[in-house]
Symmetry: C2
Subunit: 538 residues, 2 copies
């Protein structure tokens, strides 16, 4: 009986010593507690994923390669498959090493290097074209890495080379629905080549990315016979009779909403912990966005580590303050109230002369938002707490946010969550426990920066705006195509003009968790200075 | 006699219609005024460079391909070589088309796709491996694009295929000294293959990049026989007797300092113009950084379009205000003075309760910087003027700057200029006309955010810091290597810890002009959450 452990663990990008220790302990646990003969780790185990330009540092590469030798020495009586940036004949490869008896038995070098979306692997790595087979308990085991198995033919090639079982090391980031794609493609590959496939994914948050785990094993019939949890560390063993994997526990595939919520929570938790923050702080307006971010923050870090500030102005309605207090109390967090009027008045006076004779416009609204930014940053600076921004993807898309105001902060948990999804996530969170007052969900959204202001004064309704944005930003549809999908020209033009015009704001936004197929940030690289006008069809 | 025009022109990224018009007018000018038989444009002429993720939009690609056909139709009696993203057999190529008699005569598809530094070409394009030859006046002319000619063998391959002359379309961004590299490699290729090479480079600023032009022609002996100006548009003709280019005017290679200064000026000018700003505004502290940025801004946009604000606090020395006024007056710009005390006092009072019992630290310094940020942004918002930040590369490296404070702004002209170079550029600017008071250059630098503060309280002297930063940030040297180069461990550790710790600030910084081999931004992609510690050698 061959027992293979899947090490779905949370690693620290760049933290080679930390990761080395964790790899060793995990392997020993799998050997001693689970009786595993072999343990398989995620892609680039030793460095975490993605290490980005750390890969250009010779000292970093040297440390990573040394760590592999050290791990081999440290763990005996179990085979390890670990990922690392391998320096081989003066070129760098994204490799997987098989460690046995204190030595590197063999290395597989990744063939398919993704260079799209958030991925830049051709910036760092050479591609190889070899098969790597090793034998354990009579079974010929082949290695592949992540993008490899999305390519037609690579699984079949390994089977033809004599493989009985295929392992794949992954760092596949979450977006909504991706797990279905992943299992579909892998199961199809397994079925077509009639070979079992063992898929180990990374778990954890890393800047803009969350890796969701959900590692699994497909048998030669293309059926999932084991699935690890989403968004949690898990080390499990799957038993093989010859090359036939035996049925094991399959954790459920969560539905879309709960997976998205978990992604946000893990993203916030790991950004805060991996950057050494003592907790988080945020401005609570009584609106739906900050209500959701507060719930996410508390679920990520615990109520005792989250602090909120209410910062009313003369435009803040009473119900906003009341609801903000209800939210803070429902979650049991500490909160403060600081009215912004004294600072707004001070700036008004200071600017009176230079702005004399000008008309009131967004300038005055921005001053209010920026006064709030200063207050929150002061508390963040003084206490070493991470300031969370509360802007959503719809706002980021159209620039309905103030730079250095409500955009000020270290992390933007819902920056990739469109407004309509904000509502769904709020409803979902309330099904776990009622923490967001009903009125917050039902009242019309407002920035409360001017008298009786509501978002729809400046923007199309979100039920119209969000689908337009999805088509334009995520699917690269033209204005004409969006109109053909059933939207009014006036709304399409308004939305696209705003998206085009606000790249400069997005460029200065803090990172946030990617949960859609295309997020802002590394995932969407647009020029700021540009003559491109998405509204002009030719 | 064959007359080839080099069209060193400034293009607008994404502005296909604008570029199309300019290409047509330039070709007509070369034909009618200069008698050219052929005109060669820079890489990706039609879209500008780099169009980034606009290349993923089907509508954009369609427009670009249509523009090439339209240009071919519009201009007769001269051959055009223009660059464009070519959709060919369902794949995208970085191509150069030869236009003759209203049609596309042939297309060359780029072989070497750079995917390092600021370049992401493998994200968008397929690579090809063909030679493209066309004949004009009895000469066989071959095409290459930018990175191609940096590869060994590609020039020789074209020669062997029968080429008499090689054209190369480029978008080669500036950094100090790069022009020497460029000419050296091209001349060497020309000499080795014994073939003349005509090198056309783009000119203009685009977000973080400045393209410096300095197009040139090398003869088959590897000598430069023509060179266009740096940092200026220029359309020139070089005559060929058979395949022998005739000597023409060689614009001088500027020295390093003046080229760097021109790069900053062009970068600011094009960022402001291409983004439609009505002018620029900046905070003037009396320090060297803002003095230099002011001079650059005035040289870029004209004194009448630049406005400065002095924002003294109780820590501002009299001489700072005096010098700031002298700078504004020397350059003839409008300036205002707004003391920040009222806002600082307001925030002090508002935060008294939540910060009660805490010790004074950077928090209070940041509040001052952020009050200045609010004032400047209010004036920028109200007037539609671009706010320029004044931080230099040394500060960006170690995080000696306040997010949302002095880092607030749309463009950061000197963010890639190390402090020691700031001094050199200030001295250089004063040789053109005395605009920066001597005392500003000679007094010790200070942020003036606390009593009697100087930079050296928090940082090693810049004469020590700057070379350490260059080795760590630009050359990927390890701490041990930097020590071996002659620096004290204590300084190396201090600098590296600060660089490692401040990636989050840099991620929210505005773009600025790249002038070194490695700038921050697209050029250096580091994780924020990381366990990498550059100070630990293993």
């Amino acid at each position: 009986m061959l027992k293979i452990a899947l090490a779905q663990i949370n690693l620290l990008v760049g933290g080679i010593a930390t990761n080395q220790q964790k790899i060793i302990e995990t392997a020993e646990h799998a050997r001693d507690q689970l009786g595993a003969n072999l343990i398989v780790f995620p892609e680039l185990t030793v460095t975490g994923y993605p290490p980005e330009d750390l890969l250009l540092r010779p000292d970093f590469i040297k440390q990573a390669n040394q760590a592999v030798l050290d791990i081999a020495q440290a763990v005996q009586d179990i085979d390890l498959v670990i990922g690392f940036p391998e320096l081989y004949e003066q070129a760098l490869y994204n490799s997987a090493a098989v460690l046995r008896d204190g030595k590197i038995l063999c290395c597989y070098r990744k063939t398919a290097l993704p260079n799209f979306g958030v991925f830049d692997e051709q910036r760092y790595f050479q591609s190889a074209d070899d098969v790597c087979l090793f034998t354990l308990k009579g079974q010929a085991i082949a290695l592949t890495i992540c993008e490899d198995i999305w390519q037609p033919g690579l699984v079949a090639k390994n089977k033809q080379a004599g493989a009985d079982i295929i392992l794949t090391l992954n760092a596949s980031p979450f977006h909504a629905g991706k797990i279905h794609q992943r299992e579909e493609i892998v199961c199809q590959q397994a079925k077509e080549a009639e070979i079992p496939l063992l898929y180990v994914n990374l778990i954890g948050g890393q800047d803009e990315l969350v890796f969701d785990g959900a590692s699994f094993v497909a048998n030669a019939q293309g059926e999932v016979i084991f699935r690890a949890e989403e968004f949690a560390e898990q080390v499990s063993v799957v038993e093989f009779e010859q090359n036939k994997p035996l049925k094991n526990i399959c954790s459920p595939l969560y539905n879309e909403i709960s997976s998205e919520y978990k992604a946000l929570v893990l993203g916030v938790k790991d950004y805060a912990y991996k950057n050494g923050f003592k907790g988080a702080i945020l401005g609570l307006s009584g609106g739906i966005d900050s209500a959701l971010v507060l719930a996410v923050a508390v679920d990520a870090l615990g109520a005792e580590h989250v602090e909120a500030v209410l910062m009313p102005s003369k435009y803040t309605q009473d119900m906003s303050n009341e609801d903000a207090v209800l939210e803070a109390e429902a979650l049991g967090i500490k909160y403060h109230t600081i009215a912004i009027e004294p600072a707004v008045t001070a700036f008004s006076g200071m600017l009176a002369e230079v702005l004399a004779g000008t008309k009131r416009d967004a300038t005055e609204e921005n001053i209010q938002a920026r006064c709030r930014g200063i207050l929150l940053m002061a508390m963040s600076n003084k206490q070493g707490k991470l300031l969370l921004t509360t802007g959503n993807k719809s706002e980021m898309s159209v620039g309905y946010a103030t730079l250095y105001g409500d955009m000020a902060g270290g992390f933007a948990p819902i920056k990739d969550v469109p407004k309509l999804l904000v509502y769904k996530l709020a409803e979902y969170r309330n099904t776990l426990s009622e923490v967001i007052p009903r009125r917050v969900i039902t009242r019309p959204p407002s920035a409360e920066l001017a008298p009786d202001q509501v978002d729809e004064d400046s923007l199309p309704p979100y039920s119209v705006l969000d689908p337009i944005l999805e088509m334009y930003v995520e699917q690269d549809k033209s204005a004409a195509e969006i109109e053909q999908a059933g939207f009014q020209r006036v709304d399409v033009v308004r939305a696209i003009l705003l998206v085009d015009r606000n790249e400069y704001k997005r460029r200065q936004a803090p990172p946030g968790v990617k949960i859609t197929p295309r997020a802002f940030g590394r995932d969407r690289r647009y020029p700021i200075a540009t003559g491109y006008k998405g509204v002009i069809d030719r």
